[in-house]
């Protein structure tokens, strides 16, 4: 069984961005997304989830490469300067090609 592949885009960034990011994802018409809570440290210091303005979220989107790249570009332009956020891509094999 060889499975079709898609791109998994993962964003990790400050929780305050959640509703903005969700609006973006809707605007880009991604097929779906998954969010979970996290904490961490990066170049902008420690971010704990004990405090509203400090926790991180981890957003995953599976979509085609082209859309992932467009999303990536949007996030770079929109958020990288002022917000603690990172993103990375990897390749995944999926079931049900028509969904993503």
């Amino acid at each position: 069984m060889t499975l079709p592949t898609r791109t998994l885009l993962t964003l990790i960034g400050e929780a305050a961005l959640e509703s903005k990011l969700v609006k973006d994802l809707e605007a880009f018409e991604v097929p779906g997304w998954t969010i979970s809570d996290a904490r961490g440290r990066g170049s902008r210091g420690v971010r704990r989830s004990a405090w509203d303005n400090e926790g991180n979220i981890r957003v995953e989107v599976i979509c085609n490469t082209e859309l992932a790249q467009r999303l990536l570009a949007h996030i770079r332009n929109q958020y990288h300067r002022d917000f603690a956020i990172i993103c990375f891509l990897s390749e995944v094999q999926i079931l049900r090609e028509e969904k993503f």
């Binding site: 305050a16 405090w51 303005n53 300067r81 002022d82």
Partner: protein
């Protein structure tokens, strides 16, 4: 012993945090405590407002609104003189124009413990003070007619957690009145101090973490965060006196003016003015001014109010 155990919980949290103990409260507990506090303040205010409302109140409310616009306008040039950037100055000014519900709760507990009367509708002032400073802060940062999305900012502010809870509690208290609300009274009577104590424990833990950032932002920030509350309290107290508030009410208004927001404003400014450094404003309002007001300020502002009235 003169020390209030509620305040000692704050010191306890501060010490536990500074000594890097393992103690931490679950985030859900902290959320719950702040929800309970805000609701309790709102409910209590609403119930009393139902009994005590008067036409004078309208003028007082407008005056308090003006205070909320004035404070950031005073803070901003002071911050610029201290050589903070334009956006950072505007951001910090917005925090100090607004209020800290936690500081307010401690002030109320302080007055109650001393049997000092204060105007019962004062929670209304908390609601009124939350908002204007944010708008003034953004105008200071960007000028008018810029790319600010005022609509979604308005959402963010008026539909933010603190305002919604305060207003919701206020309305329910107002509509229900004292008798009907009785079964919920534990929220603002017997449960209020225990909830506040745990809340302050967590605030102590959080404040202790801000000290790290203090090293970077340095002495100028600390100076502002200690000096501005005094200035704010001076103005707030004078206004309270001018409006004919009681000693307790005057001291509380002074405390409100002295305090800086660390819930509603950070959330709103983070999205509306992301270029500003949130570490600066949080360190100042939460790491310095909050402990200062809790530990030293409130008794001071009460003495000031007594002096004003006498």
């Amino acid at each position: 012993m003169g020390w209030d155990p509620v305040v000692m919980f704050f010191v306890f949290g501060l010490l536990a945090g500074l000594s890097r103990s393992e103690l931490k409260l679950p985030p859900a507990l902290y959320d719950t405590l702040s929800i309970l506090l805000l609701l309790a303040i709102g409910l209590h205010g609403g119930v009393e407002l139902a009994a005590e409302a008067s036409p004078v109140l309208l003028w007082q409310t407008l005056a308090v609104l003006a205070l909320g616009c004035l404070l950031p306008v005073i803070a901003f040039p002071a911050l610029r003189i201290l050589r903070f950037s334009r956006v950072d100055s505007a951001n910090i000014a917005a925090h100090y124009g607004s209020v800290s519900a936690g500081t307010f709760a401690v002030a109320i507990a302080y007055m109650l413990a001393r049997d000092l009367h204060f105007e019962s509708y004062i929670p209304l002032f908390v609601v009124v003070l939350e908002v204007p400073a944010i708008i003034v802060g953004l105008l200071l940062a960007k000028g008018i007619a810029r790319d600010t999305d005022w609509r979604s900012l308005g959402r963010e502010v008026f539909l933010g957690k603190s305002i919604v809870l305060l207003l919701g509690g206020l309305c329910i208290g107002l509509l229900a009145g004292e008798d009907a609300i009785a079964p919920l009274a534990p929220l603002y009577t017997s449960m209020f101090k225990p909830v506040l104590a745990l809340f302050l424990l967590e605030m102590g833990l959080i404040a202790s973490r801000q000290f790290g950032s203090l090293k970077e932002s340095g002495i100028r920030l600390a100076f502002f965060a200690l000096a501005f509350p005094l200035a704010g309290a001076g103005i707030g107290g004078a206004l309270g006196h001018a409006l004919g508030l009681s000693v307790g009410g005057t001291a509380i208004l002074a405390t409100l003016a002295a305090s800086g927001s660390y819930i509603a404003v950070p959330a709103a400014m983070r999205l509306a003015l992301p270029e500003a450094n949130p570490a600066l404003s949080l360190t100042a309002s939460l790491g310095i001014s909050f402990p200062f007001n809790i530990l030293v300020g409130i008794p001071l502002y009460l003495a000031y109010a007594e002096w004003l009235i006498a």
